[in-house]
């Protein structure tokens, strides 16, 4: 009896064990681990409003989606709708303006000053060491035409407008720090306001000048065999008596030409975008306001680089080199100057002039 009952007991115990084992594994399978975790971590109080189902809104004042996600999206610049005509106003927060401000008041302002000051300092140093670059063989007294009237007109249209634009542009960027404390707010605002109008209008003269020099000089500004030698010798600027050959334009002038053309194109495009705010959209995928910010930033960077380079151009064309200014002044350069600085061009020019002479019928 005892043996039977004992074995019965054992069977029951085994069955219970099996059932428990099965049940545990079953339970482990059906309980979602995420849910289990949620239950263990955040158990709402007994009187809490439970999770809304479907479109129901508990408490009659709350939504059924995470507000923090929405506000995060607002902070990152999502667009809503507005009933006013300007649909761009649908953006609640645009943070790019802060980056724009930081770049404008930070690196651009800082490196612009360093660049401008550095270039002036370099030129002063160059003048002190090298002095004025003179014509080695002295002025011959005979001249030859370097730039025709139309070429000089294009150059000066571009040059005068660039200087006006550069000064008024620098005033917008730096006037606040240098001129405003001297003139006072009212005086400075008058000048800055006039400068803005001047900048807007003179811009078109600059664009016209840019087109003129592009058309007249592009064929002489493609690289040729003399350029590498010219660059290797530093254009002969650093050593007296060294004059690498060059045609109408040397490598340095070509670099300046292409810088002015591409820089001028960049300035013109961004300038037009700024002159007609929010009128043009470039296919960039950027918001209109970001395009405007990009346009001002890029405009400032190109303008500062060009101004820094043009300071050096003005130096070498005036006080830096004897006889250089005549090329753009009267258009007539001294023959010795031409032979030293643009030897190939001078030779060709003399030859063509000689050719013309030979064709002329001598007077009886």
């Amino acid at each position: 009896m005892t043996a039977i009952s004992r074995s019965k007991k054992l069977v029951v115990q085994l069955a219970v064990l099996v059932l428990i084992a099965l049940g545990t594994s079953f339970a482990l399978e059906i309980v979602d681990p995420q849910q289990a975790q949620a239950q263990s971590n955040v158990r709402p109080p007994a009187n809490a409003v439970t999770s809304p189902v479907g479109g129901t809104v508990p408490g009659a004042s709350s939504g059924n989606q995470s507000d923090s996600e929405m506000w995060r999206a607002v902070r990152k610049g999502i667009k809503g709708t507005v009933s006013i005509p300007d649909k761009k106003a649908g953006q609640l927060v645009q943070s790019e303006g802060d980056a724009w401000r930081a770049v404008k008041n930070g690196p651009i302002a800082k490196w612009g000053v360093i660049g401008l000051g550095g270039m002036v300092a370099l030129l002063v140093l160059f003048y002190l060491i090298r002095g004025k670059i003179t014509v080695d063989h002295g002025m011959s007294g005979r001249t030859m035409t370097r730039f025709a009237d139309m070429e000089r007109m294009g150059h000066w249209l571009l040059a005068v407008s660039f200087i006006v634009l550069a000064i008024t542009g620098l005033n917008i960027t730096y006037g606040k720090y240098f001129l405003l404390p001297v003139l006072g707010k009212a005086g400075f605002a008058t000048i800055a306001g006039a400068g803005k109008w001047l900048h807007n209008y003179v811009a078109f003269a600059f664009m016209a000048g840019l087109v003129m020099i592009l058309v007249m000089w592009i064929k002489e500004n493609f690289p040729n065999k003399y350029d590498l030698e010219w660059l290797a010798k530093g254009g002969g600027m650093f050593v007296k008596g060294v004059h690498p050959p060059s045609k109408k334009f040397n490598a340095g002038q070509k670099i300046l030409f292409w810088l002015v053309i591409w820089g001028g194109l960049g300035l013109s495009l961004t300038g037009i975008a700024l002159l007609f705010p929010f009128q043009f959209g470039f296919p960039t995928g950027m918001e209109p306001i970001q395009q405007m910010q990009f346009a001002t930033t890029w405009h400032a960077i190109i303008a500062l680089v060009m101004t820094i380079v043009v300071i050096a151009h003005i130096y070498i064309g005036t006080v830096g080199m004897e006889g250089a200014y005549d090329a753009m002044g009267s258009g007539e350069v001294d023959e010795n100057w031409a032979k030293e600085h643009h030897s190939v061009w001078a030779k060709e020019k003399a030859k063509s002039r000689g050719g013309r002479k030979s064709k002329a019928v001598p007077a009886e």
Binding site: G59, S62, Q65, D67, M70, A89, Q91, F188, F276, Q279
Partner: protein, 197 residues
């Protein structure tokens, strides 16, 4: 001294645009200029929220930082104001402003901007308080009259609050507490997913 602030309770704003209209009327603002606007997020969808937004009178105001003629100033109450006599209409403040507050009348040729106009927190400008000149350039100076901005004063659901920052935040805090769970309190849905929004 009080630090003036705006706060728009998105749980209460019903996009009636009365603040916009009141502002335009009070300051006699010309066509095309909106010192205040109402933006609706998720319009027509579940979770739609509307917010009335104008100049937020920032402590570190980006407009002030980028203005090339330094025409901005901040009052002792933290209100950011500007001088239309100095403004040259360059548009920099609009590029810098996170909230799109600066507005420009179109004047003359091109798309050229006139003097910038923006929300003054109903505090006028640099001219003598309550003078004709001040009204013409900047609108009514309600703070000088001892009143708060009209947009908030007449908000029907009291969603838009304006005034001393401490008082405004006290009111908002009380609202959040009394709404209980899922009040739309900042971060609730993130912290307790599925436990009421």
């Amino acid at each position: 001294m009080a630090r003036m602030k705006f706060l728009c309770d998105a749980e209460r704003c019903i996009e009636c645009n009365a603040c916009v209209t009141a502002c335009k009327n009070e300051h006699e603002i010309p066509w095309g200029i909106n010192r205040r606007r109402v933006v609706t997020i998720n319009d027509g969808k579940p979770g739609e929220r509307s917010i009335s937004v104008a100049c937020m009178h920032c402590s570190d105001a980006p407009c002030m930082a980028v203005c090339p003629v330094d025409c901005f100033y901040q009052t002792e109450e933290g209100v950011v104001l500007h001088s239309k006599d100095l403004c040259i209409g360059c548009g920099y403040c609009f590029y810098a402003c996170p909230f799109g507050a600066p507005q420009y009348p179109q004047v003359g040729n091109f798309g050229s901007r006139g003097k910038m106009d923006k929300c003054t927190f109903c505090a006028g400008g640099p001219e003598a308080d309550k003078s004709d000149n001040e009204f013409k350039k900047y609108g009514r100076n309600r703070l000088a009259e001892g009143k708060l901005p009209l947009c908030a004063e007449m908000c029907s659901t009291k969603a838009l609050l304006a005034g001393d920052g401490d008082v405004v935040s006290d009111i908002y805090r009380e609202r959040v507490v009394s709404r209980g769970f899922g009040s739309g309190a900042w971060g609730w849905g993130r912290a307790y997913p599925g436990q009421g929004a």
